[in-house]
């Protein structure tokens, strides 16, 4: 029944139906291939004879295709895959490509399912990010095996396996910019391996060098496996009087849509070059080894990351530190929950977003009742990142500076001689050395946000919209020894809160907000400020 679309019919006397699902890495309309059967012809150039033949039988071809459509829409057409033929891979191992597509084709037993499977296989191969183009063709099987089809996969490997990126990014909440660059080397050994090296330098705060490798699959493990080595330096002198230097190895063991399991081995050094740290910070300075397993379960059924109007999301992050027989490794258990919801109001494209997040950390091991949790793993609240976009745990509280909420400890007082400094107290010391944010081991935040379209059509078309919000949160330093004296009422009474309104400018890569925040409640050592603030968030 099928009409040959290619004059090079070959030895197979039976008619051939070629259904091609083709997409290049830059093709944005790949989704349409799953629903349509495109009879696209890839002809060799400059073959007059072939062109002549095509011109001669277009009507017959159209008739064949129409007949095919009628048959396919009439019911399932029984067909199964006999063989998978891979062409074009000079470096990439056949086993890798087969492993990506076998599951999709194995279960298909009709033409319709095969076409869907071809689309799915195409997507998976493109996601490997090692091919310039992927083309899947369904060809008829051997003549002695009726009802079978061969799948022909044509791949074009990346011509230039080395790619690089470089950019400058602004971080208003840290009042700094950062330069970030990365190099990526794809498919070096033919296993779909992607090697990358990246560096980031943030003026005044963070610098990082890292290198990693990711494998789409490793032997029997069908989920992607990633390994990364990084050297990171982070400056918290302004907020907590310490600098953090990390040399870490992280291994992503499981990474599926909802589940993520990673192991982390990090050598960390906290130092205070300013010699101004408080007692709590001083006691935690020094070298330590972190060996932890982190499991993240995430579901996000919201309709959008940048402006959710319906749906819900849930995040649970569990971290267990202290893996290993050595009792000198940092031991702690950390748990975070984050729940979000959104529902539309039905007018002006308005929607209400709300969320609650909570987290706790505690040490374990000998003497854990009197121990303190490690400083960098504790909860710090504050900063201008929006709580809507990303599920980040109990960290953001609009209106408050970075690490501006929570327990503090007074910094070192410096003795001066009388009369040298007008700010000194009669005892001869500087009046207010300031405080270090020391974080807490129990944190809770909640927010409610009403978003709505703005009256101007220009804004509506570009996605710019307005919002009003209400934030509240609290973080306390609650040790296990003090847990007996914990007062829930006291905890509720010390919640900080802020409210405000603003305009949101969503772009493809980030979401910018210009907000007016009003601090409703803050405690003595908090750093909240009423006024206009900018925030940048990435989904």
């Amino acid at each position: 029944m099928a009409t040959p679309s290619d004059s090079e019919a070959g030895p197979n006397p039976k008619p051939v139906e070629e259904l091609e699902t083709e997409s290049a890495t830059n093709d944005e309309h790949h989704g349409e291939d799953e629903d349509e059967i495109e009879d696209e012809e890839e002809e060799e150039e400059g073959d007059d004879e072939e062109e002549a033949e095509e011109d001669e039988t277009p009507a017959a071809q159209r008739e064949n295709i129409n007949r095919l459509f009628r048959r396919l829409s009439g019911g399932p057409v029984r067909l199964r895959v006999q063989d998978i033929i891979i062409r074009g891979n000079t470096k990439t191992k056949d086993a890798l490509i087969e492993a990506e597509v076998l599951d999709a084709f194995r279960s298909a037993c009709s033409m319709q399912e095969l076409i869907q499977a071809a689309g799915l296989a195409n997507t998976r191969l493109r996601q490997l990010d090692i091919f310039d183009s992927v083309s899947i063709t369904l060809d008829s099987g051997p003549s002695e095996l009726p009802g079978t089809a061969n799948v022909v996969i044509d791949v074009v490997e990346a011509r230039n396996p080395l790619t690089g990126e470089f950019g400058a990014y602004s971080k208003p909440e840290a009042r700094s910019w950062s330069l970030e660059g990365s190099l990526k080397l794809k498919n070096l050994f033919g296993y779909g391996d992607i090697w990358d090296a990246s560096g980031a330098y943030g003026f005044g705060q963070t610098s990082e060098i890292s290198a990693g490798v990711s494998l789409p699959r490793f032997k029997a493990i069908s989920t992607p496996l990633t390994t990364r080595v990084s050297l990171l330096s982070q400056d918290w002198l302004k907020f907590s009087s310490y600098k953090e230097r990390l040399l870490g190895l992280s291994v992503g063991l499981i990474s599926t849509g909802n589940h993520d399991l990673a192991y982390n081995l990090t050598w960390r050094n906290l130092s205070d070059p300013s010699h101004m740290s408080s007692k709590t910070i001083r006691r935690q300075l020094g070298h330590s080894l972190l060996s932890s397993l982190k499991y993240t379960y995430r579901i996000d059924h919201r309709d959008s990351n940048l402006r959710p109007t319906r749906g819900y999301a849930f995040l649970s992050t569990s971290q267990f530190g202290g893996l290993g027989p050595d009792s000198r490794i940092i031991r702690f258990i950390r748990q975070e929950f984050d729940v979000r919801g959104a529902f539309p109001l039905g007018f002006y494209n308005a929607a209400v977003n709300f969320g609650v997040a909570a987290g706790a950390i505690m040490p374990w091991g000998r003497g854990f009742m009197d121990s303190t949790s490690p400083l960098p793993e504790r909860f710090y609240m504050g900063g201008h990142s929006s709580p809507i976009c990303s599920l980040g745990g109990p960290t953001s509280l609009l209106g408050f500076k970075l690490r501006g909420v929570g327990p503090t400890d007074e910094r070192r007082a410096i003795l001066t001689k009388h009369g040298e400094d007008e700010a000194t107290t009669p005892s001869g010391r500087i009046a207010s050395p300031g405080g270090d944010a020391i974080g807490g081991n129990l944190a809770v935040t909640a927010f409610a946000d009403l978003s709505f379209d703005l009256p101007l059509k220009l804004f509506r078309e570009s996605g710019v919209h307005g919002h009003m919000f209400l934030n509240t949160g609290n973080v306390v330093d609650l040790t296990l020894a003090e847990f007996k004296n914990f007062s829930f009422r006291g905890f509720l009474e010390t919640f900080r809160s802020s409210a405000g309104f603003g305009i949101i400018f969503p772009t493809r890569f980030f979401r910018m907000e210009i907000n007016y925040c009003y601090i409703l409640k803050q405690l003595q050592h908090d750093h909240g400020k009423t006024g206009i603030q900018f925030s940048f968030s990435t989904p």
Binding site: R78, Q82, L102
Partner: protein, 335 residues
């Protein structure tokens, strides 16, 4: 509330010496921390001793906290100088002008020649185990090894020691140390203290140095044998040790950052009292710790092996297989 405020006020005013941990029968086994300890003891300052186990390579230790103030060892000439300037300890403030030049040069001699000799023996010539016990035993093994190597290289670089000139440098270091011991012995004579019949920072510095040499360095140490030749210096050490260190042993209330000497480097909020018989207890604890360590290691390895086997067997059952041949339905594709 008033009692709590008073306790808080007292806590703020108490003097705390944060030093490296004790060992070898000493309240603190670090040669840099011992002089500060002795200085506070000479001044009869009531202080609390706490340990820092996570900064073996930092020069800010030892440091002294009093109220909201702190003096670090890498500021303004050191902790002893700062304590004198802040009038927390007044041992050096009443020195007469006549003995000041002699006192200053003696202090410099101890702080440079003798301190360098101790550094050389501890990091270069002696067995690694001594430095490991003092500085790295509370850090995880890989960190301890790397930091030990770094510190050894730093000391060699500081003294300009290379493979070519190692012997010459060693001879020079020991020659200076011998000269220093001889000068100190002549200065001390039959006196109880070096200057004015009372303790000053010179006594603190030398006592800290000598106690370390005699208790921590092995018997084969060249420095130890040099010091042992001077009977009056040994007498001085013995007298002061009895008066200062053994008293502190029996009544020390220094809270450790953790109650277990081999535990994590994260400090505790509330400390525990030190046992007077530290050395034999350390040996008992070490044996128990070894047993516990081995037992935990076995459980850990067994758990890892079991989990890997289970994981691979589950995933192996879900492993890829080729396309199935011969579908039983096998309906042909009909035109």
């Amino acid at each position: 509330m008033e009692m709590a405020d008073e306790r808080e006020e007292e806590a703020k005013q108490e003097v705390v010496l944060v030093a490296r941990k004790g060992g070898f029968g000493l309240p603190t086994a670090c040669p840099v921390c011992l002089p500060v300890y002795c200085h506070l003891r000479f001044a009869n300052v009531d202080f609390k001793l706490e340990f820092d186990r996570a900064n073996p390579d930092s020069d800010h230790i030892p440091y002294v906290e009093y109220g909201d103030h702190v003096t670090f060892n890498n500021e303004k000439g050191g902790v002893i100088e700062c304590l004198n300037e802040d009038n927390v300890v007044k041992l050096d403030s009443q020195l007469s002008k006549d003995c000041f030049p002699d006192w200053a040069s003696t202090k410099v001699m101890i702080s440079t020649w003798l301190a360098e000799a101790v550094q050389y023996e501890l990091w270069v010539s002696c067995d690694n185990t001594i430095a490991d016990d003092i500085y790295f035993s509370d850090l995880p093994w890989p960190i301890g090894k790397i930091l030990h190597w770094k510190q050894t290289q730093a000391v060699k670089q500081l003294h300009g020691i290379t493979k070519l000139n190692a012997a010459e440098k060693e001879e020079e270091i020991y020659r200076k140390a011998n000269i220093a011991y001889e000068a100190l012995s002549m200065k001390l004579g039959s006196q109880v203290f070096f200057f004015e019949g009372r303790p000053t920072s010179v006594d603190s510095l030398f006592l800290g140095h000598a106690v370390f040499v005699l208790h921590v360095l092995p018997e084969t140490s060249v420095l130890r044998s040099s010091l042992s030749k001077h009977a009056n210096l040994l007498r001085f050490v013995q007298d002061c040790k009895i008066r200062l260190l053994e008293d502190s042993y029996s009544s020390a209330t220094g809270p450790a950052f953790s109650s277990d000497a081999s535990s994590s480097s994260i400090p505790r909020r509330k400390g525990s009292k030190q046992n007077a018989k530290t050395k034999p207890k350390e040996k008992r604890e070490r044996t128990e710790e070894e047993k516990a360590f081995r037992r935990r290691a076995k459980y850990f390895i067994a758990a890892q092996v079991v989990s890997i086997v289970i994981y691979l067997s589950i995933l192996g059952g879900m492993g890829d297989s080729g396309l199935e041949d011969g579908d039983e339905d096998g309906l042909a594709y009909e035109e």
